[in-house]
């Protein structure tokens, strides 16, 4: 068996301490393979973002082990985490992902400033063509629509060829057809480009290209089979 891109063992997360402590994540196991498109659904405040930020090394778990490419990151310094994020993850975060004073083109060019030697698998032009944002290359984020911003975020996330893409509600601000396109795109990234993709979503109608569906409830993560998924879908209707 090949090593998983991501493997979480008994990971927990508690925010705060004492009386005000909030357990956002109870002991959780999670794994992601290359070429796998996984989603996490669940109610607001259930711990989805918390899980994603721990996977993406944006924060450390309270306990448990996080392995990235088989390497235990528990004792990584902040500097190593930073480099890990740069090289391993493409993020699409829940809030803004773009730097307000950079044009679309410069958002990506910034990656090159810190990564001089790297040959990109997909050039900037290719990415822009694939995402249909060629005409936006010189626009600033403030001038983009929500959907355009999401596509730029995807371009930005893909540009450094990260093996793992983490997307926190990338379809939240989009209408159904645009949301569908983004989800299809993330599916292609997993299946055609052989990346690992984790997407958080509220929208259970958009799960066609998804390989694995997890449900988060009060900090507990469970895998949903097709029956469970059907039940949730029925409840949502």
């Amino acid at each position: 068996m090949t090593t998983s891109l991501v493997a979480l063992h008994q990971v927990t997360k508690t925010y705060g301490s004492g009386h005000t402590a909030v357990t956002a994540l109870h002991p959780t196991d999670f794994a992601l393979q290359a070429g796998e498109f996984a989603t996490v659904i669940g109610p607001s405040g259930s711990g989805k973002t918390t899980l994603l930020t721990i996977v993406g090394s944006l924060q450390q778990p309270s306990s448990g082990q996080v392995l990235i490419n088989g390497q235990d990151t528990t004792d990584f310094s902040e500097r190593r985490r930073t480099d890990l994020r740069f090289n391993t993850f493409g993020f699409m975060l829940q809030a803004s992902n773009l730097i307000p004073f950079l044009t679309v083109k410069d958002q990506l060019a910034l990656v090159d400033r810190f990564n001089h030697h790297k040959q990109h698998e997909m050039s900037m032009t290719d990415l822009f063509t694939m995402l249909g944002i060629t005409d936006l290359a010189n626009a600033y984020p403030a001038a983009l629509s929500g959907g355009e911003r999401q596509r730029v975020s995807i371009a930005r996330a893909l540009y450094n060829d990260p093996p793992i893409i983490l997307a926190d509600e990338p379809t939240a601000s989009l209408d159904t057809s645009r949301a569908m396109k983004v989800v299809d795109l993330l599916g292609d990234i997993a299946h055609k480009m052989n990346r690992g993709v984790v997407m958080i979503t509220h929208d259970t109608r958009l799960l066609d290209p998804v390989d694995t569906v997890y449900e988060m409830r009060d900090g507990h993560l469970t895998t949903l089979d097709s029956a469970g998924l059907a039940k949730i879908r029925a409840a949502a209707l």
Binding site: L58, Q59, R79, T82, F91, L93, I99, P100, F101, F114
Partner: protein
């Protein structure tokens, strides 16, 4: 540099404020420095021009040239090929035709000796009734060819030539013969006293009741000189210190506003060092542009300023102050450093 300049260009209005702050501060500091230097020079250029670094004065004069009297017995004792006599007196010169009066000095010297001033127009005096004037007298309505009285003398003195940058105790110097100095000071030229002996070499075997000081000491003891320069230095120093605070606080506020954006960068795996570099590049760019404009404004001001205002821009000194302003503003950037070092990538998902 990339991040720094892109951000400045995108948020022009915001950073223009910082530049304007730099312009105002640097212009004010430069202007004060110009006035301070001009005033200091008006006190001392005639002394700076003395060919020797050692000056013999009477001990009771308390290093103040204005009150020093060196007698013939005393100066004869140190006389050598390295020494020259100097008689100084504070006087009022008047052009009786125009009734124009001017506070000034006379420096009585041997006009062919070591202290002979450089003539910039006209010629050196050859008679006791002729004087050579610092060319700043022309700013006050006197000119070459005028016949003036000294302290209301009956004798008229003919300004036969001009010299440059020879002022003492903030007023211009008239160079006269020693005989004329004695005539004006003692009413007769048989008293052979002078004010000081200037020597290119350190004098030994000093006569009784005299003391030897350097030119620098002499200058520092010109009445009012040290008080003026230290007041100005304090003001300029304070302004430079304030620069640190103003720019530091300014950049800190800007940094705080950008925390979420820095969070995004941190989440994307951009190192803190790159963010810090952007901060200091920004300060450097803004400071250089602001201080540069300040220098430009100063140059314009200098052109428009009347010559009677003591203003002098010493390139060396101004570059040092420009450097100090830039360094101070970079130091001000340290205020923001702590905040940037503590930026958590999670701040990128703040503000949900």
């Amino acid at each position: 540099m990339f991040l720094a300049s892109k951000e400045i260009l995108h948020n022009k209005a915001r950073y223009l404020l910082v530049v304007v702050t730099f312009v105002l501060i640097s212009y004010l500091v430069f202007f004060l420095t110009g006035l301070a230097t001009g005033l200091a020079r008006n006190n001392r250029t005639a002394i700076d021009a003395l060919p020797g670094n050692y000056v013999l004065m009477s001990k009771y004069a308390n290093k103040n040239l204005l009150s020093s009297v060196v007698t013939e017995d005393q100066y004869d004792q140190v006389a050598s090929k390295d020494t020259a006599l100097l008689g100084q007196m504070t006087i009022v010169a008047e052009n009786p035709k125009t009734n124009k009066k001017l506070n000034s000095n006379i420096f009585g010297i041997n006009l062919q000796g070591k202290l002979k001033p450089t003539v910039t127009s006209g010629r050196l005096p050859t008679k006791n009734s002729e004087v050579l004037a610092d060319d700043s007298v022309t700013y006050y309505g006197l000119k070459r060819g005028d016949r003036i009285t000294l302290n209301g003398s009956n004798q008229k003195y003919h300004i036969v030539g001009l010299t440059h940058d020879r002022r003492f105790a903030t007023v211009p110097v008239f160079y006269t013969t020693l005989a004329t100095f004695r005539q004006v000071k003692y009413g007769q030229s048989r008293v052979h006293n002078v004010s000081a002996v200037v020597s290119t070499r350190k004098m030994t075997d000093l006569p009784k009741h005299t003391e030897q000081i350097t030119r620098a000491t002499l200058i520092n003891n010109i009445p009012g000189y040290t008080a003026q320069t230290s007041t100005f230095m304090l003001m300029i120093g304070a302004m430079i210190g304030i620069t640190l605070l103003i720019i530091g606080i300014f950049m800190y506020i800007l940094t705080i506003q950008k925390v979420a954006m820095y969070g995004v960068m941190r989440a994307q795996g951009i190192r803190t060092s790159a963010i810090i570099a952007a901060l200091f590049w920004q300060i450097l760019i803004l400071a250089v542009v602001g201080v540069g404009i300040g220098i430009g404004l100063l140059a314009l001001t200098e052109v428009g300023l009347p010559k009677t205002i003591p203003f002098y821009s010493d390139t060396m000194l101004l570059s040092m102050i420009a450097g100090a302003l830039i360094v101070m503003s970079l130091v001000g950037g340290l205020f923001s450093l702590r905040r940037i070092l503590h930026i958590d990538p999670l701040e990128a998902i703040g503000g949900e």
